[in-house]
């Protein structure tokens, strides 16, 4: 592999990170992980449910993927910090996807609480992966705080609207000192490819795969799309032109 994806000091084999939420069953998660070739997946931290059979751990173990717990549902820095500590204790990882949302309707991050939580978690030794909006300034501040990546949204969680503001993603990528992971908003494969073409280092998505009509096939689609977008970024696309340019020779035409 001549194009490794390194984040928080670890090399990951895939630039596609799978969020496991929204899948109809653990079996679907299992098949998604197979089809996506992901090497990192997220989980949420919730109260033990004595009624459930099977565990996300069985699936994760089977695939040998690394786990990235999140703080989904937290509304304050304090909640997020405690949730991160719970995750570290439960999962023996100091990686944390930091989510501090402002409300349930938009699920958008609260910039103030997010920054506060990031600073405290960095101080506590966490490797912080913050889910953030697409504001280049907030992304910069999160990096200054010591986050190991920044994870701007393309559009609000679960909307499938793609990348609403390419310009902001380009600005974030243009000055980033840590990996940029496009998180949230992806609806279909071309969105994921575009994220990579804009220069993101990886893509994190859940609903686009888990809630697709055929999650397994969509997982394969996303794997191919992230790969395609990365290659295209590295290959250097042709410039956009206003006028046409022939792709067949304009000389040596037969006189007919």
């Amino acid at each position: 592999m001549d194009d490794p994806f390194v984040v928080a000091g670890q090399t990951l084999a895939s630039r596609l990170i799978i969020g496991t939420g929204g899948a109809a069953s653990l079996d679907v998660v299992d098949r998604i992980l197979t089809a996506s070739h992901a090497s990192l997946c997220t989980v949420a931290m919730r109260r033990v449910d004595t009624g459930t059979t099977g565990s996300i751990f069985d699936v994760i173990d089977r695939h040998g993927v690394r786990v990235l717990p999140n703080t989904a549902g937290c509304r304050t820095a304090a909640e997020a910090v405690t949730t991160a500590q719970i995750a570290r204790e439960a999962l023996e990882t100091d990686w944390i996807k930091l989510e501090v949302i402002a409300d349930e309707r938009t699920l958008l991050p609260d910039p103030v609480e997010l920054l506060e939580a990031a600073a405290r978690l960095v101080a506590l030794g966490f490797q912080v992966f913050p889910y953030t909006n697409d504001d280049p300034v907030l992304a910069r501040r999160l990096q200054q705080t010591g986050c190991v990546a920044v994870m701007p949204l393309g559009a609000p969680i679960g909307t499938g609207l793609g990348i609403a503001n390419r310009h902001n993603i380009e600005l974030i990528v243009g000055e980033a000192q840590v990996p940029v992971i496009l998180d949230a908003g992806i609806g279909t494969a071309s969105d994921a490819a575009l994220a990579m073409e804009l220069g993101c280092d990886a893509v994190l998505l859940a609903s686009a795969v888990t809630r697709a009509q055929d999650p397994e096939r969509m997982a394969a689609a996303m794997a191919a799309a992230v790969h395609a977008g990365r290659l295209a970024r590295l290959a250097g696309r042709i410039p956009r032109r206003h006028h046409a340019q022939a792709s067949s020779p304009t000389d040596r035409m037969a006189a007919l």
């Binding site: 939420g21 929204g22 931290m45 996300i56 751990f57 995750a87 204790e89 439960a90 996807k97």
Partner: protein, 66 residues
């Protein structure tokens, strides 16, 4: 004695340890963290951490999400 576990009041053995309490909830205690009155109790202290009653305990694990 009464302890609130995951939001429900439960009657548990007086002086029960966190360890006992977890064992009662789940047979496969992998990937679990316990919070007593807002503070995470490290796994290494589960056996030694005795409950005295009226605590609020959260027993948390990983689920599909994100």
């Amino acid at each position: 004695m009464i302890v609130t576990i995951n939001g429900e009041d439960r009657d548990v053995r007086a002086g029960a340890s966190v360890d006992e309490l977890v064992a009662e909830l789940t047979s496969a205690p992998r990937g679990i963290a316990v919070v007593v009155d807002g503070t995470v109790v490290p796994r290494s202290e589960w056996c030694s951490h005795m409950l005295t009653g009226r605590e609020s305990v959260e027993v948390i694990t990983a689920v599909q999400g994100g």
